[in-house]
């Protein structure tokens, strides 16, 4: 029953994403939905690292920035887009490796502070290394993505480019969490000593998931840079890293589907006017003015009253509909994909 509901939901969502540009011709909506896609790639990485393996990162924005700046810089220097993309992902992944190696023996708030510090240091370098990054003025005139003669210049083309990558990333991530590596991640979340006792090479798995999540952050950054055509330090702040953590927490730790739902909801929140057209201007402005309060309250309230997030809530709902109570499952196993 749960499997079939999930399959139907995935097919419906895929069709919805595919036909949206033909139904909604409004460029504003397409732009917002493209940003939803970019955030989904970020969150897929963070979900594996934080949601599954339990390794908190308050510095994901740094990988986003590393990908965006590297690829933007390379593309402006005349490097073909695909190569610039590889460069951006590689630099972000190396950044992830550099922070992963010394962080291996840190956990909890020590890891949170280390990743936060790393993010702030990278932000400092994005701002200060003006010859490469353009400093606080940013890097302008980044060309649109292109593969050979195929150029992704129009909003619809960019939309499909981003969402194709989202599809690939989510399928990849779903495969990881459902198979052996995913079980290893959850085991590390539960107890590192226990995972070691089960023969899991925890050091190796932790480095792998750190690098993977950093690489995905870099990938999202590359797409962002060539979508907007302009990057500046104000995009890669601690605030963005915290919003990503909020998305994973709202969705539910250890659930990819939950993280997707949390990302869509929280990304759309400041743009409710695009989703619900009839909303009065004053209401929209009120929501936009209080967006950060809402993000913060979501973090607190979810942790207090819904520690398994949207995924846990959905699981127990489906369980009740199916006449079975699955709400008792533990956090680390809850949710599925």
């Amino acid at each position: 029953m749960r499997g079939s509901i999930r399959a139907i939901a995935i097919i419906a969502l895929t069709i919805g994403v595919a036909i949206t540009p033909f139904v909604m011709t409004d460029r504003y909506i397409l732009r917002i939905l493209t940003f939803v896609g970019i955030n989904l790639i970020m969150v897929a990485g963070l979900s594996l690292l934080f949601g599954y393996a339990g390794q908190i990162s308050l510095g994901q924005a740094a990988f986003y920035g590393l990908g965006a700046y590297t690829s933007g810089y390379l593309a402006k220097a005349g490097v073909p887009w695909l190569l610039a993309l590889v460069g951006g992902v590689a630099v972000a992944a190396i950044g992830g490796l550099l922070i992963a190696l010394p962080s291996l023996r840190l956990k909890g708030h020590y890891l949170a502070m280390a990743t936060l510090g790393f993010g702030e240091i990278m932000l400092f370098f994005f701002t200060e290394t003006e010859s490469v990054t353009g400093g606080s003025n940013g890097l302008r005139g980044i060309p649109a993505a292109s593969i050979g003669p195929l150029e992704f210049a129009t909003p619809v083309a960019k939309y499909f480019l981003v969402w194709s990558v989202v599809a690939i990333v989510l399928v990849l991530a779903a495969n990881i969490v459902r198979r052996r590596p995913g079980r290893a991640l959850r085991a590390i979340h539960g107890s590192e000593t226990g995972a070691q006792a089960c023969g899991i090479d925890t050091v190796r798995v932790k480095i792998q998931v750190f690098v993977l999540s950093a690489g995905l952050g870099g990938l999202a950054g590359v797409l962002y840079a060539h979508y907007v055509g302009f990057v500046s330090p104000s995009t890669f702040t601690l605030h963005y890293s915290l919003i990503l953590v909020t998305m994973v927490a709202l969705g539910g730790m250890g659930s990819l589907g939950g993280a997707v739902a949390g990302t869509v909801l929280l990304t759309l929140l400041p743009y409710v006017d695009a989703i619900i057209p009839g909303l009065p201007r004053s209401t929209v402005e009120l929501i936009q003015d209080w967006t950060n309060d809402i993000y913060g309250m979501v973090l607190i309230l979810v942790m207090l009253f819904m520690p398994r997030g949207l995924a846990g809530w959905a699981t127990s709902l489906v369980g009740r509909l199916g006449g079975r109570d699955r709400a008792g499952g533990s956090v680390h196993q809850g949710g599925g994909a």
């Binding site: 840190l106 909890g108 020590y110 949170a112 502070m113 936060l116 702030e120 973090l299 942790m303 520690p307």
Partner: protein, 292 residues
Amino acid sequence: METSELLQLAIAGLKNGSIYALLALGFTIVYAATNVINFAQGEFYMLGGMFAVYAFTQFELPLLVSVPLAVLVVAGIGMLFETLAIRPRKDAEPMALIIITVGGSLVFASLARHAFGSDALPLPEFTAGPSFLFAGAAIERQTVWIWGIVLVTVAGLTFLYSKTRLGRAMRACMQNREAARLMGIDTARVVMISFGLAAALGAVAGVAVTPLTSTRFDIGAGIAVKGFAAAILGGLGSPLAAVAGGLLLGLIEQAVIPFSSALKDVVALGVLLAVLFLRPQGLFRRARREKM
């Protein structure tokens, strides 16, 4: 470089370091009571300055009243935050509590923007007048206030910990919360008071520094990182180590300035990572085998 310039840098270092010390004390006290790092600690610093400015400009209260009033209000907010958001999940895994305090930090900063606006707000110096001159270096009057406040605070904390019943209860909780509870100590009350005390220390730092730097709704996160770097330098253990960590961090920051003034803001982050990666137990404690 001349001695007077060096002295000037040292004075600035000890001034900033005193502020970091107060924040580090806040981190240390909450950590001792709960094993939680309060990511909202910087917001108490911001709120302290904000409430003092508000009482001073809106109610036109004298500084002598506005400042303690602001500290008291923020202490209350700290205890309220603990009661509403931390206590219900006090036995949860540390990750949940980290996330709650991160959420609190977002909410406090954002509410402050609604209440006080997004402009930088100034406060006059506690006592107006020219700077003192000492061996060719100038010491602002407010800097002397800051040093005085830190001295009084440390003396007060030492007294609290060594001579009072509450202080003994706090020390007992530091060593072993469960055992303290079995000895009849009201640990819930100790935790709440610890949060209030940490919030008050943050507010004191914020109020003391606002005449020099002014305050804004979004300064909390930046100063929290520095305060935490100071706390971790001191090893998150004894209050005196936290103060030493703060002063040391302030001096290290100033020591970089002759080489590159742009680097000053990133030094604390470098120190933070270096300590976390190389010596997570801090400078003053012996290594433990367990994971941090």
